[in-house]
Amino acid sequence: MPQDKDHGQAIAPTQGSRIDAYVDRYAARATGMVASEIRALFSVASRPEVVSLAGGMPYVTALPLDVVGELVADLVARRGPVALQYGSGQGDPHLREQICDVMRLEGIEANADDVVVTVGSQQALDLITRIFIDPGDVVLAEGPSYVGALGTFSAYQANVIHIAMDSEGIVPESLAQTIYALKSAGNRIKFLYTIPTFQNPAGVTLNAARRQQVLEICQRADVLIVEDNPYGMLGFDGEPMRTLRADNAEGVVYLGSFSKTLAPGFRVGWALAPHAVREKLVLAMESAVLSHSSFTQLAVGQYLATQPWREQIKTFRELYRERRDTMLTSLEALMPAGVTWTRPAGGFFVWATLPEGLDSKALLPRAVSERVAFVPGTGFFADGGGARNMRLSYCYPEPDRIREGVRRLAGVIEQELRVRDTFGTGSSPDRIGVDTPGPDLA
């Protein structure tokens, strides 16, 4: 051991070690895959002492878990040889029929032949990006947009251009102007990615009139729409909004998911696409994973066939409504002047905007010290925007924890305002990119 050696005489290597033997061989798209102090902070946020307003995790505890357990056991007992076997690349035919029944609730008439079952709608996003995007192609997306989508677009080296949105969703004029400017400059716009209903992260919903405008603008400009609708059934007021796909079968690829209406652990989502696109999605699916898990597809199918799933969705809605209400009343009561936020009519998220000069990323370490976590806004932009924003989730914590979390966060913002007033500035964002929590928090 050390005391027996004379280390001063050791010969220094002429070439250093980079720890990673493959450092010079990664694809260009791996460039941004680096350790991040923000992600490291989320490691603390996973501890129970921390009130996490960061996670977008559905409250699966509200499911009748005993019933789900019996259902799964019954599936193995009765249909084990099928459930544990490879399946078709397009997905279980019966489940695809059931998915069409689900989509009918949001105004979509579809043929099960045009549905591809995917590993969550996240895989559908990956497959769509894979078949449409060459490096440098333009994807339009709301600003802010879903972090998981931005990660996928980035992995395929798409050029993401954000479209302005307000409390009523995408601003149609911004969409039209951006398309015109991009096309005039010779850019190839491959599609518009949008979450029109209870958007992640902004919590806003595209109003009915704008839906028609967005459809018209994209149709006129020949821009495909990718409509991601994981939260559409989780509205707190009235019937589900009519989807974009309901009014345009050929110009919209629709993505759905059971992750929020049942449970994300099944990893069952789907894409509904025009026939030719669907053909390519199936081939892409087969090259990616051969086939989706037969087991979880059949389990979801059995759940839909035997359980009162519409009632369960109502249960989720009421639960999330109470939490949304708690978050909004807590924000109202506790936040310092100058902080504003959206008022979602469904879904999981509130999007807050901090006063001028504050940087939500710089605020996160102090928040974690005070045992509360959120997701800084920059993760939801591909261009470094969102420094003054934060996404606050109300889906997972119990109402009293939400109240406590907002109280702690308000205190942190008060402190940060004092720092801003002292130094007359916020800290500058150091890196543009997807700098957000892992999948259990996304």
């Binding site: 050390p2 280390h7 980079r18 680096v34 007359g424 500058s428």
Partner: protein, 317 residues
């Protein structure tokens, strides 16, 4: 074979460096298992005290970085529980973890350390930041290195080359702590020297030279394999290398540290080392310099950890 029956590795915690600590804990547990030791790895939470009381380990390896892991708190609790552990005691940790205090102590032992100013957030608020910052720039010059007075992994740290960037650097620093250490930034070779004491007094392991791809050895450069080039041993002359080793051993001794430490220093253009800070729970991850130094010395990390634990167990609580 070792006499150690049951060893506890503490990892995780609630500091900003939790993720790094979990990685260090995994690595130490793995190498100890490889050395034939029965290891339990656990986080620090409300179940720690009852579980240690119910089944006291022969010794504890603390791989908690930042906060309670390095400020003496967890070691105080281990002493209350009469459990032996590897590393410095609480009093020494408290001094070493506070960078300005550590600098003062090592300076009194004749070590060179960059001129600096330490100020709490409140001072800037009460006296006006711009006037105070202007005086700091006037006194220390540019560039400056701004970092929280306590903490690690370069969290909240930044290099300031233009005076107009200093306020933003201060805000970034105060995100991670309430007191800032503002140092004159010395351009030179970044070197980490680990020190181990296996019973015959502290000995320096080969210095490790750190060359980050993008200039600053920040969080991404530290924990993304491939983003930093390490030379172990460092490309230093024998004389400079010996001076670095001497500085690390002196810092270890001056601060009253025990068993293991890592001193970060910078070697200027004239080959003179400058003390920056010392770590009482050095990183043990795949990209950390202490394991590299052990390897460069031709030693085995598992054996080293085992000997340190045996030593702690023999020393007792």
């Amino acid at each position: 074979m070792s006499d150690l029956g049951h060893v506890l590795v503490l990892a995780g915690g609630l500091s900003y460096e939790r993720e790094v600590s979990l990685r260090s804990g995994r690595r130490v547990s793995e190498v100890l298992r490889g050395a034939g030791i029965s290891v339990e790895t656990r986080d620090t939470d409300a179940s720690l005290v009852p579980s240690v009381l119910a089944d006291p380990p022969d010794a504890v390896f603390v791989t908690l970085h930042g906060g309670a892991g390095e400020d003496g708190a967890i070691r105080t609790v281990l002493e209350l529980l009469s459990v032996p552990y590897v590393g410095a005691g609480p009093d020494a940790c408290r001094v070493a973890y506070d960078k300005p205090t550590a600098k003062t102590v090592v300076r009194s032992f004749g070590l060179r350390t960059p001129e600096s100013v330490t100020l709490p957030k409140e001072t800037f608020h009460d006296l006006g930041a711009s006037a105070v910052l202007a005086r700091i720039v006037e006194r220390l010059g540019l560039p400056l290195f701004v970092k929280p007075s306590r903490g690690g992994s370069a969290l909240g740290a930044s290099i300031v080359r233009n005076a107009e960037d200093l306020p933003a650097a201060m805000v970034g620093c105060f995100a991670y702590g309430d007191t800032a250490l503002i140092e004159r930034c010395i351009d030179g070779v970044e070197v980490a020297v680990s020190v181990v004491d296996l019973g015959n007094g502290p000995v320096a392991l080969p210095p490790v030279e750190i060359v980050p791809d993008e200039g600053m050895y920040d969080y991404a450069a530290r924990y993304t394999a491939g983003h930093t080039e390490f030379f172990a041993p460092a490309r230093l002359s024998p004389e400079v290398s010996a001076a670095c080793a001497e500085m690390a051993v002196t810092a270890h001794t001056a601060l009253g540290l025990r068993d293991i430490s890592r001193t970060d220093l910078i070697v200027d253009a004239d080959g003179l080392p400058h003390f920056l800070e010392v770590n009482v729970a050095p990183g043990m991850t795949e990209t950390s310099s202490l394991p590299m130094a052990v390897e460069a010395a031709g030693d085995d990390l598992g054996t080293l950890c085992r000997i340190l634990l045996e030593q702690a167990a023999a020393r007792g609580a």
